[in-house]
Symmetry: C2
Subunit: 179 residues, 2 copies
């Protein structure tokens, strides 16, 4: 019995160390986010669309955004399952919103003053991965923010969870399904 207890204790300690490791390092290993160790999931641009939205922060941000879900996330959205099950992954692409000179020119005769705004380059992507045990301290979510292939720094990633706390009633996820 003692031996089993010691074994379980050792496993628990090891699990604790492993779970803590990404926090302890606080550094990206190049292709994963600091704190959380989240990588860019393969093929996410082809995932199903959750929602589209537009964020304007005066003088700072003018973005068209699309959130994409893997099959676990999409199923949860469609069935209204909260909290999201482990394995649910959401990737938000943030594109800069710019006027389309071409569209505006051809639309204007029919609709004076028409403004067609389209996406230009990507600004960044943000990722949420659900693992209720691994990320228990942050609502069960691991976060990542990448610009191109490069994850943001630790200071940036320390802002992810606090920013998402107001969305607690929707399991910390701001995006609702666009019908």
């Amino acid at each position: 019995m003692k031996r089993i207890s010691f074994f379980l204790l050792a496993v628990a300690i090891l699990a604790g160390i492993v779970a803590y490791m990404p926090h302890a390092s606080g550094q990206s290993d190049g292709d994963s986010s600091p704190i959380y160790g989240v990588k860019i999931p393969a093929g996410y641009r082809d995932w199903k669309l959750i929602a589209v939205n537009n964020l304007l922060i005066p003088g700072k941000v003018d973005q068209l955004r699309g959130q994409f879900g893997n099959d676990i996330a999409i199923k949860a959205y469609k069935e209204g399952t909260l909290p999201f099950p482990d394995g649910a992954t959401i990737v938000a692409i943030h594109w800069n919103r710019v006027p389309s000179e071409f569209n505006n020119k051809v639309l204007d005769p029919a609709f004076p003053g028409a403004q067609s705004l389209v996406v230009a380059s990507r600004m960044n992507i943000q990722i949420m991965v659900k693992d209720s045990k691994k990320y228990a301290a942050t609502g069960g979510w691991g976060f990542a923010d990448f610009t191109g292939e490069k994850p943001g720094d630790k200071a940036l990633h320390e802002t992810c969870f606090p920013c998402h706390i107001p969305a607690k009633d929707h399991d910390y996820v701001f995006a609702h399904y666009s019908p």
Copy 2:
């Protein structure tokens, strides 16, 4: 030989009648568009996303839009194939763009004046189906505009192709792939 010629003539006439039928009636049969006879394709909300954009027509329209492609359309976009091959289908969902009171409230302390704009109800959907023979007179595209399950009238559908003519260099399709 005469018999074969007559047979071919009969086939050609019949084909002509069948091809012309949707034009001749000019009426929707309830679940397909007038002029073109295009129906809502099953499952399109789960298709891959082509692009997101935002259309503002002062006093008339404020929409977030998403274009979805079937596999033929997505392949053509990714490979830069123009014109789009027969069978390519694009569905654009037009949602009304509205401020998110919830998001704005929680964002404002960190980003004063922040405006999060999200989708409300759908306004309509628009569909383009490529069939270079059937729709030869309209750039190879059949068009449809549905509000809910109901197709718009003939007068509305008469505006589809003329509106798309300026996008001729992109095979009459305005939407470019959002990277």
